[in-house]
Amino acid sequence: MFFQNVGQWAHFVRLCFHLLVSHGISGREFKKQLLRVGIQSIPLTCAAGFFVGAILAIQIDSQIRDFGAQSYLGGISVSTTLRNLGPVLIAFFLAGRVGAFTSAELGTMSITDQLNAIRCLGLNPIREIVIPRLLAVAVSSIVLLLMGLLMSVFGGISIASIGLKVNPLQFVHRVPEFLAVSSMVLALIKSIIFGLMIGSVSCFIGVHISGGAEEVGGGVRRTAVVLVVGIIILDFMISWMGSQFVGLSQW
């Protein structure tokens, strides 16, 4: 069952890619979806990112303060945020907000025959409805993840200077020692992969919902579970591959 679902998801992604390359995308629908799922998520994502950074700064400060290593707070907290916890926590947030919304919307369209009605008008619902949403969710998730990460750094600096009495310049000063370019590349790679995953999984589950309101609820729950578990597994795989190819110390 698991492998069958993964196979169907891979076929769905391939079909979307094929239609995107051969027929292009409905630009108007894409922009509309970008506004709905992307722009409207900016304030909450920034707030979530800010607090992720702030929480990590507080936690790390409590660990290193006793050793008199507070000058390392900026370097450790920023690198930890960017390399691992930041992308994962913000991706969880987006899976709940953007992924579940998209899945529920497509599921409702499916059970109310809206997708079949599009077929009966001689159009392909994958091209007209799904691809603009998939791309909008993926692009939005990538951009939002990056924005969230920037805000998490800002959150760390803010709480360090206001709450922990660490000079902001001192906080920033040590960051380059801990944060290699490869760490930023890793954050970018994770953001892209998590974004594509949120878009493709939520659309895949959404269009395959059939039945009634109960099935839509079940589909939304399945989307959330698959995305959360998938994000953790992918995070592990990316981190492991990074450590194998580049060396753990640089990651």
């Binding site: 009966c120 008008l121 001689g122 392909n124």
Partner: protein, 239 residues
């Protein structure tokens, strides 16, 4: 001409359609009557390839429809358009965007649209509203108009008058007759509504247990000795 030859379909091991033959010509309105669960909606979904048939073929102007070729199906559905029982308008789009959606271009003649709206007794202002702000009757009219504007060769309707009051039913029947006259399309309607069938159909087909048990003109249905036909005419078949 739209023709069905020996269409059979089983669902869950049960025979839903059994060797159904029927044909619809341009400018013709054909009603398929039958009790609930007799396979009327399955018949329509089979014609447009949403449910593949087990046996038989659907022919459009003599050409068989290949329900496994997606591009051929898309082309077929531009010529044979199905209007669902529920309006199935896209609820993220305004009424005007819904109407434009399938046309993929601005209305060539805005006047044509306004004529349609006035014939449907709809205000032009409704174009800017969202479907969920409108009554079911208005949504159904918009749904029909969305298909009619594509000018298909054949229009298929699934229970077009279900959920409408007598005035709405009369207006829906008028809309179907007008759209057939204006576009010279053929029309296949599945319904329980025997009154509408007797009023506007050129041909009535009675479906029972997946088989065609009667085919003829409305007056022939009234004279038919079949118990089901008499029950329908007398309006005593339960919904």
């Amino acid at each position: 001409m739209l023709e069905l030859k020996a269409i059979s379909k089983r669902l869950g091991g049960l025979p839903i359609l059994q060797e159904v033959h029927l044909s619809v010509s341009p400018d013709e309105i054909v009603f398929v009557l039958g009790r609930s669960g007799v396979g009327k909606s399955v018949l329509l979904k089979t014609i447009v390839g949403l449910i593949p048939q087990d046996q038989g073929k659907v022919f459009l102007n003599g050409q068989p429809m290949d329900c496994f070729d997606e591009s051929a199906l898309t082309n077929f559905r531009r010529k044979v358009s199905l209007v669902f029982q529920m309006p199935a308008l896209l609820d993220s789009l305004t009424v005007e965007e819904n109407l434009l959606f399938a046309l993929r271009k601005p209305f060539p003649e805005r006047e044509e649209l306004q004529n349609w709206l006035s014939e449907l007794q709809l205000d032009v202002k409704c174009l800017d509203r969202m479907p969920q702000e409108l009554s079911l009757g208005v949504q159904k009219k918009i749904s029909v108009l969305r298909s009619v504007l594509l000018k298909p060769q054949f229009l298929l309707f699934d229970e077009p008058t279900t959920g409408l009051d007598p005035v709405g039913t009369r207006m829906m029947n008028d809309l179907i007759v007008k759209s057939v006259r204006k576009t010279h399309s053929g029309c296949l309607i599945v319904s329980h509504d025997v009154q509408s069938a007797l009023e506007i159909a050129h041909k009535i087909i009675l479906l029972d247990q997946g088989r065609v048990v009667f085919e003829g003109k409305p007056f022939e249905l009234k004279q038919c000795q079949l118990l089901l036909a008499q029950a329908f005419v007398q309006g005593i078949v339960s919904q």
